[in-house]
Amino acid sequence: MEATLTTDILFYLFSAAILGCGLMAVTVKNLLHSAIALMGCLFGTAGLFLLLDHEFVALMQILVYIGGVVIFIIYAVLLTTHLGTRYLPASTLKYISGVTLAAIVLGLVLHIDPQATHTAVNPDRTATTIDAIGYRLLDGSTNGFLIPFEVISVLLLSAMIGAATIAKHQKPGATNDEDETGGSAS
């Protein structure tokens, strides 16, 4: 991607959005507000992907993270809190440890030689078009990801069945009364 003034402006705009929203997400007291800030952060990331010419990744970012994950977070907040809920205040110790951890990670990343040139792993965007991804996923050769693709379906199946099982409302009167009386004797 050749850098132009417009893309530069957009890059800084998105980065500012990510940083600002990210900071807001971790500092704001209200849980719903942090979820909304997280949403902004993810939108910024999607924008960056778009700037890098990876449309599919950007759209998946929106579809999966904002349309899925954040909505579920917000849903959970809606179910568990209401206005006037007292949120647990973060203690100073937690702030300090959080900031220290962030500083360590920052140091680790900065420690990476800034002089080294990191060529983009995959500069051509034909590799991330929806067709290319689809073919790659269903490719059974060493270059493809057929087996993880299939295994993911088992993963989703087990997660869904498991979730449905533990969420299932136990029918009143369906407790194992008879078992309880019979069992302890033996």
Binding site: L108, V109, H111, I112, D113, A116, H118, V121, D139, G140, S141, T142, N143, G144, F145, L146, I147, P148, V151, I152, V154, L155, L157, S158, A159, I161, G162, A163, T165, I166, K168, Q170, N176, D179, E180, G182, G183, S184, S186
Partner: protein
């Protein structure tokens, strides 16, 4: 594309999961009870036998999925742990006429289905040849466990599940973050390519390596990533606890070995230092934690932290590491399951604290003897399997070229410390007289016939593994050494 024979186990495992799920949802109650429970454990045992029978001489690949000879004992471990976990859940299933202090599992069929799914995930981990498959396998091995931990309808179970979910997600986040860095540093997700491109002078790679190790460290409950273990061991249903303690650890270790001898192979000495550090603090923290416990499951959690320390010590060694870890894991899994079987019998009508175990030798000599053998094995007392397991680990760490004698000395001291707390358990069950209060609240102990049989088989197995050299060398041959 021909199907390698070694892949049959994975396919059989997937089919078994389908069969269990379908029979759970379609069959009538009587048939269901038989097929789901007995079908599952017999199936898992058969798959274990199949694993050994189809063990390949050299690596067999289908596309990007690679079945390596050294993973066979690990796969065997997963099958054994899965089958034992199914057997252990017997008195938590409805319709058996038995009951548990904490109630019955919400759905026994789904519980068993999830065990098999999780086992399949572990199989996938051992077959992974790229980071994507690796990650998917680890997730499939872990996510069912979050659900299983919530399978009892009490607050402890829910709490354990929630904690496990949060910690597990955190560890996954670490792993994924690390994988993204590895991809950036190595320009590939394939292990073969990464093995060449990840070199120790790449700082970029180290960020990835550290985060991936941290993620797996959570799965292994190696210190300093161990804080979740005691609560979850205590709160989860007993079969799930046993499964997390055995199979999940084995899968994490298999994954770790896969990475260390695959993509990380050029990182060499620095990686050894990391493992040395992890081993030392795991042993120390695990031992210190275990000294103070009052509840059995929490005690087992801390002891597992210490045990993982010993295993990580072996990883600093050379070629002997893989077979020695495989052998140790097998012994460890059997020893752990004996303990959990005994405690599960106890726990069906009383809280599993040490004070409730006093006088066990009088109430049920069989259970007391089994627990004694289990504790001796975990502590590493000859002639039981545990001794040889630990001995091999020490041997691996002392191999020429990797002579970490200070580490071994430190580990030996820790082994002695661990002896102390394992003996406390033995003291409680054999020597300490129960106080009046302990005695009056405890009804008789019920042991199901199937569980009694399993216990006897396990005890024989652990003695055989210790005294019969052929068993020992068989595992080593399987692991390709």
């Amino acid at each position: 594309m021909t199907l390698p024979t070694a892949l049959w186990t994975d396919i059989a495992l997937g089919s078994l999961a389908c069969i269990i799920l379908l029979s759970e949802s379609l069959l009538g109650p009587r048939l269901r009870k038989a097929i789901v429970f007995h079908g599952a454990w017999i199936g898992l045992v058969l798959i274990g036998i199949l694993t050994v029978c189809t063990a390949p001489e050299s690596e067999q690949a289908i596309g990007n999925y690679l079945i390596r000879p050294w993973t066979i004992p690990f796969r065997l471990c997963f099958c054994i742990a899965g089958a034992l976990s199914v057997l252990l859940s017997r008195n938590l299933l409805s319709g058996t006429g038995h009951t548990h202090r904490r109630g019955l599992l919400v759905s026994g069929g789904v519980h068993i289905f999830l065990i098999i799914c999780s086992t399949l995930g572990m199989f996938v981990v051992t077959g992974a040849q790229d980071l994507i498959t690796f990650l998917v396998g680890i997730e499939l091995a872990t996510i069912p466990l979050y659900v299983q931990a919530a399978m009892l309808r009490d607050d402890f179970s829910s709490e354990a599940s929630a904690k496990y979910l949060i910690i597990g997600s955190l560890s996954t986040a670490f792993t994924v973050f690390g994988i993204s860095y590895l991809y950036g540093a190595g320009n590939s997700v394939h292990f073969d390519t990464l093995a060449q491109t990840l070199t120790a002078d790449k700082h970029f790679a180290w960020v990835g390596v550290i985060f991936v190790l941290a993620g797996i460290g959570f799965k292994l409950s190696a210190a300093p990533f161990h804080m979740w273990a005691p609560d979850i061991y205590d709160g989860a249903p007993p079969p799930v606890t046993a499964y997390i303690a055995s199979s999940s650890k084995a899968a994490g270790l298999a994954g770790l070995i896969l990475l260390v001898y695959g993509p990380f192979q050029q990182l060499g000495a620095d990686l050894e230092n990391i493992f040395m550090f992890l081993a030392i603090i795991s042993m120390t923290i695990g031992n210190l934690g275990a000294l103070r416990q009052k509840r059995f499951n929490r005690f087992m959690a801390w002891s597992s932290v210490a045990q993982i320390g010993f295993v990580l010590m072996a990883l600093t060694g050379g070629d002997l590491a893989i077979p020695s870890i495989a052998f140790y894991l097998l012994v460890y899994i059997i020893g752990n399951f004996i303990a959990f079987f005994v405690v599960n019998c106890l726990a069906s009508n009383r809280p599993e604290t040490f004070s409730n175990m006093r006088g066990l030798s009088k109430q049920s000599p069989l259970l007391a003897l089994c627990l004694l053998i289990s504790m001796f094995s975990l502590a590493g007392i000859p002639p039981l399997g545990g001794f040889f397991g630990k001995f091999e680990l020490f041997l691996a760490a002392a191999q020429p070229g990797h002579e970490h004698f200070y580490l071994i000395l430190f580990a030996a001291i820790n082994a002695v410390v661990s002896l102390y707390y394992y003996m406390i358990v033995v003291k409680d069950i054999y020597i300490t007289e129960p106080t009046h209060a302990d005695n009056s609240t405890c009804p008789a102990i019920a042991i199901l016939p199937s569980q009694r049989l399993t216990l006897v088989v396990l005890v024989i197995a652990i003695i055989v593994l210790g005294v019969w050299p052929a068993a020992h060398s068989w595992i080593f041959t399987l692991a390709g050494s």
